[in-house]
């Protein structure tokens, strides 16, 4: 019986996907509207969210093997990657420093709560890395996880549109930008968009995840000194 909630996720998602496909706006995103549907449902009714959560563990569990499967599109583009190793590494390093630096600077304009600043630090990397970093630096892992999801959605929704507006049309550049800013949720979007975008986004997710884990302690040290 409880697995009805897992079926509900599939049905709602596929239905919304079908309904939204003819609409070209980036806001016509089936992920956004499916999750909004369930959030509203559980906020407005007395239905038990814990049952939904338990039934849908299967999907959350499938995310880990899906990340391992990024190796396949990556291998598919290995020639293109080898040609641009230096440019990829430089762009991702710049992205990682800018992600933590700009996030910290803006948040510091609003708050000087160190726990909050530390929790926001790993917002652009995939949630297991973000939570590990938060635990290590003294942030709140749950808050980091929540912000990571919000940032990923934001990137998946508006990333490609923003890049096109700003004349960033190279599919490799678009992919790298998505992976650096919006981790796995952005990469899922990039894989839907195209082969090159998907592979370069997977690559950026890995590189920026590892670099963030290495550099976060430096930024945490800066926060402690503020």
């Amino acid at each position: 019986m409880i697995y009805l909630w897992a079926i509900a996720t599939i049905v709602v998602f596929l239905l919304l996907k079908k309904l939204l496909t003819p609409i070209t706006s980036p806001l016509a995103n089936p992920l956004l509207w499916s999750m909004s549907f369930f959030i509203l449902l559980f906020s407005l009714s007395s239905l038990d969210y814990q049952q939904y959560k338990q039934a849908n563990q299967l999907f959350i569990w499938l995310l880990e093997p899906a990340v391992v499967a990024f190796a396949i599109p990556l291998f598919n583009q290995v020639k293109q990657i080898k040609q641009q190793v230096a440019a990829i590494l430089i762009s991702c390093s710049a992205g990682v420093v800018v992600a933590m630096g700009s996030g910290l600077a803006v948040a510091y304009a609003f708050t000087s709560d160190k726990h909050l600043l530390l929790s926001l630090l790993p917002k652009s990397v995939t949630s297991p890395i973000a939570m590990a970093i938060a635990n290590q630096t003294g942030g709140l892992a749950a808050l980091s996880a929540a912000v990571v999801i919000a940032v990923g959605l934001l990137g998946a929704l508006g990333g490609f549109t923003l890049l096109k507006w700003c004349n960033i049309t190279n599919p490799q550049a678009q992919g790298l930008a998505m992976g650096c800013s919006a981790h796995a949720i952005g990469t899922a979007k990039a894989i839907e968009t195209g082969k090159e975008e998907g592979a370069f986004s997977s690559l950026a997710l890995v590189i920026s995840g590892i670099l963030t884990a290495i550099l976060a302690p430096v930024f945490a040290w800066i926060i402690q000194g503020l």
Partner: protein, 120 residues
Amino acid sequence: MMKISSTFTNFLKSAAIILIFLYLGKGITAISGLPIPGAIFGLLLLFLALNLRFIRYHTMLPASSFLLSNMTLFFVPVGVGLLQYGALLSQHWLAITASSVLSTVVVLLVVGHCYQRLTK
């Protein structure tokens, strides 16, 4: 009938390989104690195995295309999970929203421009 059963076997084979690499990766995380998730090490190891022709690209297609083409669906319950953090998020919503939005925009543009300029 033969065709269906061999398709299914191919799917299972590729799924098993992905899981083996996932658990190898988790082993590395556990032993090294690094803050890098097992799935990332698993990805790197599988990428290496493909490059060394230790595993063939076509062997991996059935399960990987299933996982990757449905990944957005898998994120739905993750997104619904934001429900649990409503209080935490709304307490600091201004700082969180401002830094998330501005920083995401800046990262997208810096990485995109940087790569596009370097590869021109």
